[in-house]
């Protein structure tokens, strides 16, 4: 028998110490974020910058471990993003939110795409930047809505439906850009895109039509068995997706979409803590590989995109809230709450990490998420005050 404990050699000890220290720092950051009423993602990104190459306290020994944990983190993150909505909610969201969803996509995707092209990036990478700018952070939005006691408000269902639409749009967008990024010749790319889209259509159809039967297979499992089954399924499908040149992250997202019914809520609950642990590592690792000196170079485009991104979300929130018959204060609240970008933007930027413009894309996305994820919740709080002033002057 191999003496596992004794195998903890000097190097293992250093790895434990480094990872333990990082986890403790992240824990403090998560508490700080909770206190400030913002998401922990921008703080994790800052921590990653500090311990990355060229940072304050660069780590070397545990970098490999952090990379692997981060890659599992992105799978679990996308699994839970897929798990977030039930089949009914997806159907309902599509029926009521399609109009505002299109405006949201056009208003927020276009600036990123254009700036990417102006910067002289490859078209596929510019498409990724469009995606980075497009999607609101559903995590931040639902947290801010809860913290500010807005769940009862008239505009809230419209805001949430917009998030559902973005989630669904990602199911199509991610596989397509994933295939375009790999891009080895037009014929190859067409095949990969076709495979990806076919897989997405099948999984969405299965989830929406027969989701109950699928979850029925998993439903009798105990929490422990369910956790292992969902974790195994996610990594397995992710790995298979990677084999056919569709990103593993997308496979995991589709697993999340396919699980529905009662098992969906249970799976989300059992995977949640695991996701928190690994996803924090993912955000850390993402900015870990961003060179802080690159950040300086992208500050101007990031600032410009952040302004455009704020205006874009104000517009989509306005339209969505108007469709729910909410007045001016409600439309303002809806727009500001949507400003924050987060998990999806980082995941999309990570898809392009291996491309020629990947380093710049990563730095730009990190700066963009930092600005919007901090400005969003602050603007949302401010909009309450602005709204009450509007109401008084009416």
């Amino acid at each position: 028998m191999i003496p596992l404990v004794a195998a903890a050699s000097g190097e293992t000890a250093v790895v434990f110490i480094e990872i333990g220290a990082i986890a403790l720092v992240l824990s403090v950051l998560a508490r700080l974020a909770g206190r400030l009423g913002i998401t922990a993602i921008p703080l994790y990104l800052l921590a990653g910058l500090a311990v990355g190459e060229g940072g304050l306290v660069p780590l070397d020994v545990s970098a490999d471990f952090i990379q692997l944990a981060g890659e599992i983190g992105v799978l679990l993150l996308l699994l839970t993003l897929g798990l977030e909505y039930s089949g009914d909610e997806l159907r309902h969201g599509l029926r009521t939110g399609a109009g505002p969803g299109v405006i949201d996509a056009v208003a927020n995707f276009t600036p990123g795409l254009v700036v990417g092209l102006v910067l002289g990036w490859a078209p596929a990478v510019a498409l990724l930047l469009g995606g980075v700018c497009w999607v609101s952070s559903s995590g931040v939005v639902s947290k801010v809505l809860t913290d500010l006691d807005r769940l009862g408000n008239r505009e809230t269902p419209a805001v949430l439906n917009l998030l559902v639409i973005e989630d669904l749009a990602m199911a199509v967008y991610l596989p397509v850009v994933g295939a375009l990024i790999v891009g080895r010749g037009a014929a190859d790319t067409t095949v990969t895109v076709a495979i990806a889209l076919a897989a997405v259509s099948v999984i969405l159809a299965v989830a929406l039509r027969w989701g109950d039967h699928l979850s029925g297979l998993l439903a009798p499992a105990s929490d422990e068995a369910l956790l292992l089954a969902v974790f195994g399924l996610t990594l397995l499908v992710g790995g298979l997706a990677q084999e056919v040149q569709v990103s593993a992250a997308i496979g995991a997202f589709l697993v999340g979409l396919a699980l529905s019914g009662s098992v969906q809520a249970r799976a989300a609950a059992v995977v949640g803590p695991l996701r928190d642990l690994f996803a924090a590592t993912f955000f850390l690792f993402f900015s870990f590989s961003v060179d802080p000196s690159d950040l300086v170079g992208v500050l101007v485009p990031a600032g410009l995109l952040a302004v455009l991104g704020i205006l874009g979300k104000l517009l989509s929130g306005w339209v969505a809230a108007r469709s729910a018959a909410a007045g001016t204060p409600g439309r303002l609240r809806a727009g500001t709450v949507l400003i924050a970008r987060g998990e999806f933007s980082v995941v999309i930027a990570a898809l392009g990490a291996a491309t020629a413009d990947g380093a710049e894309l990563g730095a730009l996305a990190a700066a963009y998420v930092l600005i919007t994820a901090i400005a969003g919740p602050l603007a949302a709080k401010l909009s309450d005050r602005m709204a009450s002033r509007l109401v008084r002057t009416d």
């Binding site: 009914d88 309902h92 809505l145 769940l151 009862g152 408000n153 809230t156 949430l160 559902v164 409600g330």
Partner: protein
């Protein structure tokens, strides 16, 4: 009863709203996690909530007890927490086949696997009726079972 509107909150839960007799608009939010929020709409801004009570499942029970909730409602929420078990109410139309027969005579449990847990007759609840109890027109039959069984039961009782 006052008219209640239901709104789905994607990813969060479901929201019910009604307007009280004195004109206040009340919103009850049921999180998927079982937490509830009670909100009253602001008079200044008809789209926003001004006060919010945050209730744990225990708090909700206490509050509804104090407000005089019906025991049937409690039983329903208990049943809804069970996997695969559903509850249904079936109103017996005058002249439909089961009117005048007893619960036992229809062999409802044997044929559908569902159990009649209560009859509501003229506002009075007959809890756990035995097989000898006869069903009358306008009775509300409360039954639990699998969704499939309840569908079969509905067919039998509406024949």
């Amino acid at each position: 009863m006052t008219e209640v509107t239901e709104t789905q909150l994607a990813g969060i839960g479901v929201r019910h709203e009604f307007t009280t007799a004195s004109g206040e608009r009340v919103s009850v939010l049921s999180h998927r996690t079982g937490r509830r929020e009670l909100a009253v709409f602001s008079k200044d801004d008809p789209d926003a909530c001004s006060t919010v009570l945050h209730l744990s499942p225990d708090d909700t029970r206490t509050l509804s007890e104090l407000l005089g909730a019906s025991p049937v409602g409690e039983a329903v929420s208990a049943v809804q927490r069970l996997e695969g078990v559903a509850i249904d109410w079936i109103r017996l139309r005058p002249g439909s086949a089961p009117v005048g027969t007893t619960i036992g005579a229809g062999r409802l449990r044997t044929r559908t696997g569902t159990s009649v847990v209560a009859l509501v007759r003229a506002g009075e609840t007959v809890p756990a009726p035995g097989p000898e109890v006869a069903m009358a027109a306008e009775d509300l039959v409360v039954a639990i079972g699998t969704p499939d069984g309840l569908r079969q039961l509905r067919v039998l009782l509406e024949a």
